[in-house]
Each structure stands twice: as structure tokens, then as C-alpha cells.
């Protein structure tokens, strides 16, 4: 859908006025890399608690997504396939929906037949992960519980798959 990109003088004035407002510090996007993944517990769509800490020793692919996010919908079936293929080697996919409402999430999970935990995200969880302010976002967490990669936007899935395999090849702590 095309939107005119001309900017009028009042628009520029309003934007510049906004830019001059006091800034607020926000966690640096890459500050989480090579640090322990922030732990959290959220219920999945069936009400079962999902505790990230419980997956220590496994490789966790933590994906933030939403039903209205086109690239996210392309990635999820691949992640489901990886869960099946690499689950026995220690991969665990956990998906965090950033939808405001769970109804479309439940429908899509059923439609795609996703067999990994899907939890509903919220502001504290997004902030905990450095601010999830664009989708999709995927964190790779090693067996030692540290964040080994943060991928923002639509991932190169072949490259991501190789990274997952490399992490799975590392010894358990």
C-alpha cells in the first residue's frame, strides 16, 4: 500500500519538537549477548507453566512473533520442523506471541499445528529482553543458558539452522 512520503513544514516542525524532548535510556539492543538469558515463567496457551530455566542444558530458540506479522508466519512452520528434527538432540523452540489478544494466536497455532510451547508476551517480558520493538525477533540460547545470538527481522533460515546445529554440537555443561 503506497503512502505519500512528502513531509510538510508543520510535520517537520512537530517531529523536530518531539526530537528535542528529554530522552530516556533504554537497554542497548546487544547488551544481552553472551549474558545469561533472562529467566521468565509464563503459561502456555493451555495454561501449563513454561519456565525458561527448566530448559537449561538444551538449546533454546526463543522466537518473538505475532499473527499479523508476515515474516513471522513464514518462520513458524520451519521452527516446528526443526523442533521435530532436532528436539531429540536437545533443541527446544519457545514462541512468545506479542499479539494483544490470544484468540488469533490460538487459531494460528491450531492451523499450523505447532507442537512447541507458545506463550503470550507482555511489556515486562519484552523489556526484559531489551525491548522487543520489531518483529520477528529470535534469540538463540546455548546449553549453558547464555544468549548466543539475537536476530532481528526475518531471519536467513538456512544460516539460522546452521547456528542451531553448531550449538547442539556443543557439550552439555
Amino acid at each position: 500500500m503506497k503512502i505519500p512520503r512528502r513531509s510538510s513544514l508543520p510535520f517537520r516542525f512537530a517531529l523536530y519538537a518531539c526530537l528535542l524532548a528529554p530522552a530516556t535510556l533504554y537497554p542497548a539492543p546487544h547488551s544481552l549477548l553472551h549474558h545469561p538469558a533472562p529467566t521468565f515463567t509464563r503459561n502456555d496457551l493451555s495454561g501449563k507453566p513454561v519456565d525458561l530455566h527448566a530448559y537449561r542444558g538444551q538449546v533454546v530458540l526463543l522466537n518473538f512473533w505475532a499473527t499479523w506479522c508476515g515474516p513471522c508466519r513464514l518462520e513458524l512452520p520451519r521452527f516446528a520442523a526443526w523442533q521435530t528434527q532436532y528436539g531429540p538432540q536437545g533443541l527446544q523452540v519457545i514462541a512468545v506471541s506479542m499479539d494483544d489478544d490470544s484468540a488469533p494466536v490460538r487459531a494460528l497455532v491450531r492451523q499450523l499445528n505447532l507442537d512447541f510451547p507458545v506463550v503470550m508476551g507482555d511489556q515486562p517480558l519484552g523489556t526484559l529482553y531489551g525491548g522487543v520493538l520489531g518483529l520477528p525477533q529470535t534469540f538463540l540460547i546455548g546449553r549453558d543458558g547464555t544468549i548466543r545470538a539475537r536476530l532481528k527481522g526475518e531471519a536467513d533460515l538456512d544460516s539460522l539452522k546452521n547456528r542451531v546445529r553448531r550449538l547442539l554440537a556443543e557439550p552439555r555443561p
Binding site: 500500500m1 508543520p10 518531539c18 530516556t24 542497548a28 494483544d100 522487543v132 520493538l133
Partner: protein, 100 residues
Amino acid sequence: MLQVGSRIFFSQAHIPGSIYAGPGSQPAGLQLLESSVASSPKDRLIVIYCGCCPWNRCPNVGPAYHRLRDLGFIHAKVLYLANNFGDDWVAKGYPVEEPR
């Protein structure tokens, strides 16, 4: 200035002074947008933004912009965020309002 994306995104960080007006991709969001501007004069400058996804993949700003134009807001504008709000606004050090 109106944010027309997800409420979770808005509650994490938003441009100071901007108002949550609902995701433009959903009927309920467009209804909230309409009520948000109902008392505004048609010649008022209204800037909307989202930044949930790359510009050409955002499901929200297009419908919201066209709804505003359909309503007669001749000075409706969209803030261009190439990739997402995190990279193109927050990470560049522009002001954000703290989570509540």
C-alpha cells in the same frame, strides 16, 4: 501523534506525547482510531506511526492512514520507520516514554 500498532509495543516504548490508537490492521483498531480523532478538526496535523515490522511489511500504517484520509483528515502523515521502532527510533537515541 498516534501509535497505530500493537498495545504491547506501545507499552514497552512510545514517542512521548503519542497516544495509543489501536492496530490499523484490525477493525477494532480502526474504530479506536476513529474515536481518537473524532473531536479533531479535519485540518489538524495528525502523525501516525507503528514500526512493528519493516515499512513495506507493516500491516497497520496503511489502513490507518487511508482511514484518516477517508475521514477527511487532509494533513494525515505517517512517520517513516524503515525497519522497526526499536532500530529506527529507540536505538538512535530519540526520546521514548518509559514503560508504565
